[in-house]
Subunit: 268 residues, 2 copies
Amino acid sequence: MLSRLCLHTITTKPWPIETASDAYARAGVAGISVWRDALDGRSIPETGRRIREAGLTIVSYVRGGFFPATVATARARAIDENRRIIDEAAALGAPHVVLVCGATPGQSLDESRRQIRAGIEAVLPHARERGVKLAIEPLHPMYADTRSAIVTLSQANDLVEAVADDYLGVAVDVYHLWWDPALSVEIARCGDRILAFHVCDWRSPTRDLLNDRGLMGEGCIPIRAIRGQVEAAGFDGLIEVEIFSTEYWSMDQQVFLDRIVDAYTRHV
Amino acid sequence: MLSRLCLHTITTKPWPIETASDAYARAGVAGISVWRDALDGRSIPETGRRIREAGLTIVSYVRGGFFPATVATARARAIDENRRIIDEAAALGAPHVVLVCGATPGQSLDESRRQIRAGIEAVLPHARERGVKLAIEPLHPMYADTRSAIVTLSQANDLVEAVADDYLGVAVDVYHLWWDPALSVEIARCGDRILAFHVCDWRSPTRDLLNDRGLMGEGCIPIRAIRGQVEAAGFDGLIEVEIFSTEYWSMDQQVFLDRIVDAYTRHV
């Protein structure tokens, strides 16, 4: 039942990555997606080894991107930083980096989109050299101010097709995309370029723009229907639970992990 | 300078409508859009007369809609309620009602969209009889859970074209639509069906999903560019400032009104 379940380290943020990976493995979870901050102060290759020895598959390294900036030197710094992130993913043994592409309030979304494409094209040769793919994650339009000028799967597909590099794909997150009337058509258009599939739920009411994501089944997202579309498009990878929640981070993380496993079994 | 400026009563929510209309008129504001709750306990025709005597144009009556429901009797009640809202708009002397179309977490967005179309078609004959148009307002995707299954101008345009009734148009609100890469194309597609144009701004960070809208110029929305597109499509009506803000509602409303006039002059 859990052979395709993966958790993001941020989902159980209070736990150090060692505690998280041991607990995930004990619970029968198959994979882990590693957030960059979870590696702070650690040897990356050693942490990767430890995770694999615990029996977990490393699914995603999270996250690169944030390419747009009004100043050219800042854009160049972002490109350097993304090369470092790719190196870290390679050292960890992660097959791809998730890109939160970025946006900056001082310029138009169209200009940010051009800079995103330029940034991705600048780092792709390095990604190929390291054997690490890049997954564009379209974010919910409520993050278009500072986090991502790419807000629909249609835009991500357009960008992937324009760049035309087999090291570039997409990450489909139900939280960001569920509202889009074009979603099923765009998922079918993805074909084998879906590198990651993220689940959680949309609570009503949502009390915070960032940190009030729901556990699967607690909200209004038709998760199972979207999973069906993603799999019909050819995706057979692990399914990643990515929940940012002040409420859940404040509870006992082992109890929360048990609830995640239960919610995954019932609603994904 | 202010001959096209209109304020929504909810923008200065602490003020009773009599105080608001007098203050708007004194400030040189040309129009008022009336929220339903502002009429509580008042004679509607008399309030309309009072507003016109103060020298203000009544622009929009806000708001109808909320058609979807999982139970048929609830959908029938929503249709009755919308007929009453149309009657109120006619009694007030408002040329149109803004529709927040609705959504309900217990069913798919597609089903909600079908129910929205059915609801609109059910009330349109009554709207025509009363001489009151209906303006579909696509809402930001962050409101797709409970407020509106119509989340893009493209969907609103599709719906208006499918229904094909000259008493049905759209309301374009920069807050809900600014992120959409298809926005300029869809505004051009609107032609003369734009019945209302709403402005405010998107703050970074936005601290609340509902009540943290910014004053024009405080955020990242290219308001003037969107105004240009709306006018190029043929819109020459009043421009409505609709701000929900716990912060601004807590300040002196006369000082806030002066800031709105200043922000309108500089940024719209």
